[in-house]
């Protein structure tokens, strides 16, 4: 199948929700085309609310709609909604435990040429620190569609991080998707690669490369960063004893940190974080940027070999 951005999966899911779930409404601040909420807007104009280029008001308005039992999806660029409206998400959405869904499109480096100001690389960190918030990063358009539909049925605040750039479809329509339950995409006993978003596909490619060296890598699609699937991570740490995390996001406070918070307390193993190294983005083609920021399968392979070395030297010292 042709490559497709996760924002398209979101747009399809939202449209389906429009048809099946009358309480679903949507808001956007002049980015409904980019975030693909425009398909919903066209079919359900009365249930779509334009709030102007005003993310703080958008989240507050969504909270008001949720207070009355609606299931609002507030859509924008990930950077703008999670950056500008963080306080509104904290007080109006999370503290009030409201059923607001936030769709952040153009996440990570996928906005590419637009450059650093629109490239969101810190939102996993800020959002997962909010009590009651759920943070989901679909790996492909099919998963994004399922995640959108699941989010509507899941009580409480949910953030969906979506990409602009077309990405390969790596899941199948029949694959299960449950919020908070990660999926093992490939078995392996030597090392585990834990990834979300576009990095899942890179992790699968890294596992292929590692297999050529006789290394079997388990690949976990950690689509839900919060609530995190502790069981699947602990099993991976016990079974493989070495973990590499991969995210199109800063290594400060993101998926890698979330995984480490679980493992370091319950089953510490050697770890490496593949991610953006505490810096801002820059203009360029998204594929080119993934290379420049060392987010490629080869970078996961190098990290995997490092943790394997650490694991083996630790085993050696115990002998």
């Amino acid at each position: 199948m042709a490559d497709k951005p996760t924002r398209d999966g979101f747009g399809e899911g939202l449209l389906e929700l429009g048809r099946t779930t009358p309480n679903v409404v949507a808001l956007s601040g002049d980015l409904e085309d980019s975030a693909r909420a425009i398909w919903f807007k066209k079919e359900f104009p009365a249930r779509f609310f334009s709030v102007g280029i005003a993310e703080q008001d958008m989240i507050g308005t969504a909270a008001g709609l949720a207070l009355m039992g609606k299931i609002p999806f507030a859509c924008s660029f990930s950077q703008f909604v999670t950056g500008k409206a963080l306080e509104q998400m904290r007080l109006a959405v999370c503290y009030q435990r409201l059923n607001v869904k936030i769709a952040g499109s153009h996440g990570g480096l996928s906005v590419g040429a637009d450059g650093a100001t629109a490239e969101s690389l810190e939102e996993f960190s800020s959002l997962r620190a909010l009590p009651h918030m759920t943070v989901i990063v679909p790996c492909d358009a099919l998963e994004a569609r399922k995640a959108t539909i699941a989010a509507a049925a899941y009580p409480g605040p949910v953030f969906l991080r979506l990409g602009r750039a077309p990405a390969p479809l790596i899941t199948k329509p029949e694959d299960p998707f449950t919020i908070g339950r990660a999926n093992v995409l490939r078995g392996g006993d030597d090392v585990t690669l834990v990834a979300c978003g576009v990095m899942v596909e890179h992790a699968l490619r890294a596992a292929d490369l590692l297999s050529k060296d006789g290394i079997t890598a388990r690949v976990i699609n950690l689509h839900t960063i919060k609530p995190i699937d502790r069981a699947i991570l602990l099993a991976a740490a016990r079974d493989t004893g070495a973990i590499v995390t991969a995210e199109e996001h800063s290594v400060v406070g993101g998926l890698g940190s979330a995984v480490a918070e679980v493992l370091v307390q319950e089953h510490p193993v050697p770890m490496r974080f593949v991610g953006v190294q505490d810096r801002f983005g820059t203009s360029g083609d998204p594929a080119e940027l993934l290379k420049a920021f060392h987010l490629m399968p080869e970078d996961l392979v190098a990290a995997a070999k490092e943790v394997l070395r650490l694991k083996q030297s630790a085993l050696g010292s115990r002998l």
Partner: protein, 277 residues
């Protein structure tokens, strides 16, 4: 239009409420007396006249809604809710002390009758708009009031929300600005001048009604007048006095966020009592 309550009775009630606000803040040892005292008549006008509500059924789906956006004024809201029977008056003395339902800034549904959380300023009006949009979809007719401070409307989100209410012609929304002239560090006009208020709101497409916010007759009239407006949101600009009713607190920025000491409380209660006659 509901029957008008007796204004003399309401004025006495205002004294009782001001006294209990100060007792609760004094007992808590912290809180915001100035901005609580300035909004008393505005709340009385709502809870004893304009609002369709049922203290025995705080989540009655058909109720009108009052959203307190200036969260630091919550001692006034808690006291009014207690006087209206939403929860026992004795609970007012638990204000701000663990484990209380009466948070220093309000939490939703805590106690019953508190519609929204507030305390990070500027957020209430957006929520009021969202409620009005949901009501429009559901063909539910009710009024949504949102009380803000004059300092609070320096927050940009308020003006984003003002544009949204205008754009969507949300005539169910009635904003109230408690223009008590002061904010934490001094007069509003010195910190950041927000005047001319009525002209500003009118320029944003709102019906603006300017009143003396301590004159109960004007307050009740303003709520009636606002409710009659069709096709656009309304704002009541209530000219008030921060610390109203206590001479040493009135228009004194020092009383923004400080609790009275026992001797100050005694003087304040006495002054309020003297004004009852």
């Amino acid at each position: 239009m509901p029957a008008r309550p007796d204004l003399a009775t309401l004025r006495k009630l205002a004294v009782d409420i001001r006294q209990d606000i100060l007792r609760a803040i004094a007992k808590a040892g912290s809180g915001h007396p100035g901005g609580s005292l300035s909004m008393v008549e505005l709340l009385i006008g709502l809870y004893w006249y304009a609002l369709r509500h049922d203290p025995q059924n705080p989540t009655w789906p058909e109720r009108d809604l009052f959203l307190l956006s200036k969260g630091h004024g919550c001692p006034a809201l808690y006291t009014v809710l207690a006087f209206r029977g939403y929860f026992p008056k004795e609970e007012l003395m638990t204000l701000r002390r663990y484990p209380t339902r009466l948070q220093g800034h309000p939490e939703r549904n805590s106690p019953p009758g508190v519609e929204i959380a507030a305390g990070s300023l500027g957020q209430g009006l957006s929520m009021a708009n969202g409620i009005a949009l949901a009501d429009r979809l559901d063909a539910r007719r009710r009024r949504i009031y949102c009380l803000m401070g004059d300092g609070e409307i320096q927050e940009g989100q308020v003006w984003e929300a003002a544009m949204t209410a205008h754009h969507h012609k949300l005539d169910a929304v009635c904003a109230i600005v408690d223009a008590n002239q002061l904010q934490q560090n001094g007069p509003v006009k010195d910190i950041q001048d927000i005047e001319p208020l009525p002209e500003k709101w009118r320029a944003f497409g709102w019906q603006a009604i300017e009143i003396n916010g301590h004159d109960l007759a004007q307050v009740l009239d303003a709520y009636d007048q606002a409710a009659a407006v069709k096709g656009k949101p309304q704002v009541i600009i209530a000219r008030t006095v921060k610390g109203k009713g206590v001479s040493f607190m009135e228009l004194n920025p020092a009383w923004h966020g400080v609790a009275p000491k026992p001797e100050e409380l005694a003087r304040a209660l006495q002054e309020l009592e003297a004004a009852r006659a």
